[in-house]
C-alpha cells in the first residue's frame, strides 16, 4: 500500500541540504548599525599583504529565515532527552532543567568578562566558591578545582596532581621510578589516554568473573615499587560497586601509590557514600552527567577535580578562595578572590576558570534538589536501573550476577547465536522510539549493552522500554531480518561507516557544489 510513498522526494524537512548548497549570492541574514566613525581606506589600517584576498568565497549567503528553517529542520532529525529515555550507560542522560538554562543566561553572569577585576565579579566568584564547597562535601574531598572543561580534562588534571605529588614526595629521582598507572580492563578509554598525557605507562588490571577488580592481580602489580597510582571507576563501568574499595585503596597506598577515582558514575553515590571516605585521593566529576548540565550534542562539559588536603597544593591555579576572616571579610566587594599563590600547583589547564556557565547550572541543580533531593535522585536512579535489570533477565544474559547500581550491563550472547548482535538490537530499539543504550562498552563484555536509565524516567516508560527489549529478543528468534535491517523508521538507514573512514570527506567543497543533490 505504501509502495508509492517514495514518490515523495521533495519533502523539505528530510531533505534539508547543507547550508553551502542553499547559499545564494546576495542573500543576507544580518544587519549591523552603520559605521559611526569616519571610514578610512582599509589598507591604511592594515597593509594589503595582510588582508584576505579570497573575498570569503564559499562562506554561505543566506537570510535569517533560511538559517532558522535550516536548523529547525535539521533538529528534527535528532533524538533528545526531552523526547524520551536516553539510556546511554556511563553517560547519565538525565533531565536538563530549563531553570538552570535561565540561570546561566542572567545578564550579570552571561555578560561578565573573565578578566574583570575580582571586586567587579564578586557574585560570579561566590558561585564558584559555593559550588566548590558543595562538591567537597558531596565527595568528601576538600580540595576542589573547577577549571577542567570535561571529564577527560579532569582526569588529566588529577593524574598530573598525582605525578606532582609524587615528584614532591619522592624527589625527581624517586618519582622517576614510579611511572606506572594501573587501570582496570573495564575502564573508559579516557583513563589510559589521560595517564599517558602525564607521562605514565599503563598497566591493565584484570576484572574478576564477578566484574570487580581482581585484588590478587592488583597486589601483584603493586609489588614492583613502580606504581604511581590506580585509576578506578566506582561503581565501575559494569555498574557494580567495588565493594573492596577500602582494601583496594590500602593496597595502592601501601605500595606508595595514590588512588584516582573516575567519578563519571557518581550518580549512584551522591548523598549515599563519599569517595573521600573510601580512601580515594583524587576524583573528577562530570557536571554534565551527575549534575545535569546539558550534553549539548557533545559538550560543553565541566570536569571538576576534587582531592584530599594533602593533594590540594597541587591543584591548578588560579584557585578561587574566600578571603579569611577579620576586617576584610566585611567588605562585601572582596570576599572572594583569585589566588595564584600555589607554588606547587601543576599550573593552568585552561584559560580563565573553566566552563563557568556549567558551574551556574550545576549549582542550581544542587540548590533545587536540596540535600534530600540529591539522595532521592540517587535512589531513584539506582532503583530504575535495578528495575530494568529485573525486567530483562529472562530475555537477555547478564554477564555478572551482582546487583547493579545505577546502570546494568547485558551481553548479546544469547541473541548472537541467531546472528543478531548488539548493534542490531540497538538499531531496532530506534524503531521502538528509544535511543539505544551504550553498546560495546565496556570492552570486556561480549557485545555489551550498558543501560543507564537515570532517575529522569517514569515507570510507564521503563515498562515500555522493557517491553521493547523483550519484543526485540523475540524478533531476534522469529524474524531476525527485521532486527538485522533496522532501523526502518528513520530518515536514513545504517550508514557505511567503513567506507566513510576509508576515504574521509570531512568538509564541503566549493567545487562539489555542482554535483550535489
Amino acid at each position: 500500500m505504501k509502495s508509492n510513498i517514495t514518490k515523495v522526494t521533495t519533502h523539505i524537512n528530510p531533505n534539508e541540504a547543507l547550508i553551502f548548497e542553499r547559499s545564494q549570492s546576495g542573500r543576507v541574514g544580518y544587519r549591523l548599525p552603520p559605521l559611526d566613525v569616519d571610514e578610512q581606506p582599509i589598507e591604511a589600517i592594515v597593509p594589503a599583504q595582510f588582508l584576505r584576498d579570497d573575498d570569503l568565497e564559499g562562506v554561505p549567503e543566506v537570510s535569517e529565515v533560511d538559517v532558522i528553517r535550516h536548523f529547525v529542520r535539521m533538529s528534527t532529525w535528532n533524538y533528545s532527552i526531552d523526547q524520551g529515555m536516553y539510556p546511554l550507560g556511563s553517560c547519565t542522560m538525565k533531565y536538563n532543567s530549563r531553570l538552570n538554562e535561565k540561570v546561566a543566561r542572567i545578564a550579570g553572569f552571561a555578560g561578565l568578562h573573565p578578566l574583570s577585576e575580582d571586586a567587579e565579579a564578586q557574585g560570579a566568584l561566590e558561585v564558584i566558591y559555593q559550588l566548590q564547597e558543595h562538591l567537597a562535601e558531596i565527595t568528601g574531598l576538600p580540595g576542589v578545582s573547577l577549571q577542567p572543561a570535561a571529564g577527560a580534562h579532569g582526569e588529566m588534571t588529577g593524574v598530573m596532581i598525582i605525578r606532582a605529588y609524587i615528584d614532591a614526595r619522592d624527589g625527581a629521582e624517586g618519582s622517576s621510578k614510579r611511572r606506572t598507572m594501573l587501570i582496570p580492563d573495564s575502564a573508559h578509554g579516557t583513563n589510559p589516554a589521560s595517564a599517558h598525557l602525564s607521562g605514565f605507562s599503563v598497566k591493565t588490571i584484570k576484572s574478576t568473573p564477578e566484574g570487580l577488580t581482581d585484588l590478587k592481580h592488583l597486589r601483584e602489580l603493586c609489588a614492583h615499587g613502580d606504581v604511581a597510582g590506580l585509576m578506578l571507576t566506582n561503581p565501575n563501568t559494569l555498574g557494580l560497586f567495588e565493594k573492596n574499595i577500602q582494601e583496594i585503596c590500602k593496597i595502592v597506598h601501601d605500595a606508595g601509590g595514590l588512588v584516582y577515582m573516575d567519578g563519571a558514575n557518581m550518580n549512584a553515590l551522591v548523598g549515599v557514600a563519599r569517595p573521600g571516605d573510601m580512601g580515594v585521593d583524587v576524583i573528577h566529576l562530570n557536571l554534565h552527567k551527575t549534575f545535569s548540565t546539558p550534553h549539548g550534542g557533545g559538550g560543553p562539559g565541566c570536569g571538576p577535580c576534587c582531592c584530599t588536603n594533602e593533594l590540594e597544593p597541587f591543584l591548578p591555579v588560579p584557585r578561587i578562595v574566600a578571603v579569611s576572616t577579620g576586617s576584610v571579610s566585611d567588605r562585601v566587594d572582596s570576599r572572594y578572590k583569585l589566588d595564584f599563590d600555589y607554588p606547587q600547583s601543576i599550573g593552568r589547564v585552561k584559560a580563565f576558570f573553566g566552563n563557568y556557565g556549567m558551574m551556574l547550572r550545576a549549582l542550581a541543580y544542587i540548590q533545587t534538589h536540596g540535600y534530600d533531593g540529591l539522595r532521592e535522585a540517587t535512589e531513584a536512579a539506582v532503583l530504575n536501573a535495578r528495575y530494568i535489570a529485573h525486567g530483562l533477565t529472562t530475555d537477555y544474559d547478564k554477564p555478572f550476577d551482582a546487583s547493579p547500581m545505577h546502570e546494568v550491563v547485558f551481553t548479546d550472547k544469547r541473541q548472537s547465536r541467531k546472528g543478531v548482535h548488539t548493534l542490531d538490537i540497538a538499531k531496532r530499539l530506534i524503531d521502538y522510539g528509544f535511543h539505544p543504550m551504550t553498546i560495546y562498552f565496556p570492552l570486556i563484555v561480549q557485545g555489551a549493552m550498558l543501560i543507564e536509565p537515570t532517575e529522569s524516567v517514569g515507570r510507564q516508560e521503563l515498562d515500555q522500554f522493557i517491553e521493547a527489549m523483550r519484543s526485540i529478543a523475540h524478533e531476534a528468534v522469529e524474524e531476525p531480518e527485521l532486527v538485522l535491517n533496522a532501523p526502518h523508521t528513520t530518515r536514513i538507514g545504517r550508514l557505511d561507516e567503513a567506507a566513510a573512514a576509508r576515504k574521509p570527506v570531512l568538509r564541503w567543497k566549493l567545487a562539489a557544489k555542482a554535483g550535489a543533490a
Partner: protein, 450 residues
Amino acid sequence: MRYIPNSPEERTEMLHQIGLRSAEELFDSIPKELLLSRNLDTPAALSEIELLAGFEQLATRNPGARRTSFLGAGAYQHYIPTIVDHIISRSEFFTAYTPYQPEISQGTLQAIFEFQTLVCQLTGMEVANASMYDGSTALAEAVLMAERVTKRSKIVACGAIHPEYLDVIDTYVQHAGIELVHAEADPVTGQTPENIAELLDDKTAALVVQSPNFFGCIEDVAALAEKAHAVGALMVVGVTEAISLGLLKSPGACGADIVIAEGQSFGVPLSFGGPYVGLFATREKYARQIPGRLVGEAYDKQGRRGFVLTLATREQHIRREKATSNICTNEGLIALASTVYLETMGRRGLQEVAAQCAQKTAYAAQRIAKLEGFSVRYTAPRFNEFVVTTPVNAKEQLSRLASERNITGGLALSRYFKDRPNDILVCVTELNSRGDIDSLVDGLQSASQS
C-alpha cells in the same frame, strides 16, 4: 522532587516488584561503614522563585557585567544575533548526546559537518575537527600534535602569545619531554623578533605564533611560516580574536600547518570565561593525527547521504593510551552556536563586522595617541586591540574610569606583566559606539590629569 517522575509511592511499588523492602537495600553492595549516615551538608531545596532571586542577587554583585567595556585580551564582546540562542535552546540540540547513533543524530552531525567546513574556510585550511575545549587547550593540543607529526621535541613559541595560553601549553607539555622556548616580542614592532630563525633548528617541531598577537599586533605569518618550514618544523598559528579572520589573510594562505582559534567571538557570550569553543584545523595529510572528533560524509544502502563520526581509530575509546588525545566530550553546543552565528552573519556580515572593528579601533587608537602624555605602543599593524602607555598607574586609571564613567577601559597589563604598571590593553569592537570611544578618550585624559 519535581525532576523525578516516579512518586515515592510508585518507587515503593517498584521496590516491592523487584523483591526489595526498602530503598536502603538498593545499596547493599556498599559496605555499611561507607554509607553516609547523615544528610549531606548542602543547602535545603529551593523553589524556582527562591533560587532565581538568589542568583539575580548574586548577579547584581558583578558590576563588571554592566559597564561599557574595552576589555578583550582573549575574550571579546560582539553582537550575537538573537536567533543563535533560540536555535541552541531547541531540545533536540541541547539535550542530545554526542552523536553516536547516526540514524537519530543527523541534526547534530550535519551541523558539525558545516562547522568543520566553516572553520576550514575561515582558517584557509583543509580539514578541521568538531571542536576542542577552547583556544588555549586547542593550542596545547596543536603543540602535542606537532610533536607527533614531526617526532621532534622542541617548540618555539613567540612571546606575544596570550600568557594564559602559554601557561596551558606549559602544563600540557610538562611530562611530554618537550622543550618549550619562548621568544619575547620585539619591543618596537610588537611582533615576533626578526631573529626568531636563530631559535629554530632541526629539533624544532613547531614554531607557534598568535596573530593578531596578545598586544593586538598582526604578525607576518607568511614570513614566519617560511622560516619554520626551512628547518622542517610545522607552523602553528593561534587566533584568539576569531573575528579577525573576516578581514585578515587566512593563516592557511600564509602557510600554516595547524591553525587553532578561540571561537568565542562567534556568537558565544563572555560568561566569565566559558564555555567557549576551540577551533582546530590542519592539512589533509595530517587528518589522522588530529585530536578530537571528526564528522564525515557517509551513505546508506539506498545511497542517501548522511554524516557520521569518523576516523574513530584516532580516539581514546578505541586507541586508549595511544590515542591522539584524551578528549571525549568537546564543546558541541558551543560549536553549534558558532555555526549558527557564522551562517547568520554570512559572507558579507563577517566581512563587515571585521571591518567595523578595524575602523573603530583605528579611530580609538588615533584619538588616544593624540592625548598629552599617552602613547600607543608598537608599530605593527593591528586589528582591534592595542597597548596604551598611560602617564599614571594603569590600575588606578582603570578604576577611575569604572567609578566615574562606568567604563571598563581595558586590561591592566600588570595582571600578566608585573613590570608594565602603566600599560593598558584596549579592545574596540562593533559594539563600541563612537560615543563610547569618545567617552573613553575623555575619561583617560581627565583621569590622568587630576
